[in-house]
Symmetry: C2
Subunit: 132 residues, 2 copies
């Protein structure tokens, strides 16, 4: 197995709500919802750095496609790290997330390991850490 | 916010078990567990493509660091996509994951959108999709 991840797919409850958050709120580039010609196919992809995409897909579709059960959200399952160059940029991204409707669970502050970071949660409580 | 993710951190129950799975089973490059000088700091990073790392960090540490509660695992929270070039490579990675102790939840097969893919779960039930 090559050390490579090409898509990070977040399970969401409401595709349109999450699309609005990531596209309009955080400004991530996307072609919007595609795949609606397939049952359980509706999905949206966001272009990140070359070779990596973020996707949002309903939890029900993940459950169906993988053939596993349904589960309640678990905010400690994953954190998504977004590293930036300066503390000011951390503050700016946290403020942008707040304006987009994110839940600011930990305002940006000095970290125990010597950095500067804050956490917010997306509409399905997925944790993002903005880190300098 | 720039469209960029730099770290994907998976919440795990047993850091050593997950390290063995990802390092020894899947062969991902890592310096092993670091940060043990900090309470709740123990973590392992795996180098993926340039600019992206995978991390494993106990759910308890995520809960503590973000200041949120504890939650049960939710396998529909995220899927991690690993794209490869051929169906043979999908089969090879699925077989490697099986040997590493992964739970094969959906053997590789044709997908509804015309590709070829399989799902496995890591020791904490995080879903990986291997896709051609």
């Amino acid at each position: 197995m090559k050390p490579r991840i090409t898509v990070i797919t977040l399970g969401v409850d409401d595709l349109n709500r999450s699309l609005a958050f990531y596209r309009d709120g955080l400004g991530l580039p996307t072609q919007g919802i595609i795949g609606t010609e397939f049952e359980f196919g509706a999905v949206a992809f966001f272009d990140l750095q070359p070779g990596l995409k973020l996707a949002i897909w309903p939890c029900d579709s993940i459950s169906r496609d993988a053939g596993i059960g349904k589960f309640r959200h678990s905010p400690t399952e994953i954190t998504i790290g977004h590293n930036v160059a300066t503390t000011q940029e951390v503050d700016a991204v946290m403020a942008q997330a707040g304006r987009a409707g994110a839940k600011i669970v930990k305002p940006a502050q000095a970290t125990f390991w010597g950095g500067y970071a804050g956490y917010f949660q997306d509409p399905d409580d997925h944790l993002w850490e903005i880190v300098e």
